[in-house]
Amino acid sequence: MKYYGKTSLSSLLKLMLDILIITGFIVYLFILIKTLRIEQINLLNPKNIITCTLFVLGGFALLCIMYYLKCIMNSLVKATPFIWENVKSLRNVAIACFTVSACYVLNFFINNQFMNFKLIEIDANGIHTDIEFIIFFFAGCFTAILSKVFKQAIEVKEENDLTI
């Protein structure tokens, strides 16, 4: 299986991310409009303002994650993964992951969901978990480390390219 280049897993992933970004943006806007207009929530309530802000921030961060991953996939399709733009993209993905994790945690406390916190639970309706914030936190840490690894790889590559 080809992992990068034309007609590879990277090109398939890029296509899937394109679809996800468009549908995600439409669904995000729809939920926002539905919440603000149709359900007419009371925006004078500070708790509702904070919840809406967290939703906007978290949703925007998720779209950023998909956008920067798409940029990285673009470079993989061109078979040039070690470029400075990918270092910036990975760093931005890490920041977005931390933002999503923070939004989860804040929502947890603001909407008193900590009382019903369950690490993992299995019942008649299936498996449930409240640990999404941990997943995003670890994803952010790993992506930040990967950004530094890419930076070092590019420095070694440039040194090699300029060795005659």
């Binding site: 440039e158 040194e159 300029l162 060795t163 005659i164």
Partner: protein, 75 residues
């Protein structure tokens, strides 16, 4: 960079142009140009050997160290 490459001086002395030297040494024009314009970060001994062989000179004839441009690395 404190190492100065005086390749153009030696090429003028031997009356050889960049393209001919690149073909004889076995490297691309762009790589030889990078070397000539002091943009290279390193040179392989095999390349240096080939250049000295074609230009009939010593490594010291094409490489020079300038103390003025030397920046001591921070450790």
């Amino acid at each position: 960079m404190a190492i100065i490459v005086n390749l153009d001086v030696m090429m003028a002395k031997r009356k050889i142009n960049l393209s001919d030297l690149a073909i004889r040494v076995g490297i691309t024009n762009s790589n030889l140009s990078i070397l000539k314009t002091n943009k290279a970060k390193a040179i392989r001994f095999s390349t240096l050997e080939a250049i000295c062989s074609e230009l009939k000179c010593q490594p010291g004839d094409i490489l020079e160290f300038s103390n003025d441009k030397y920046i001591k690395p921070n450790k």
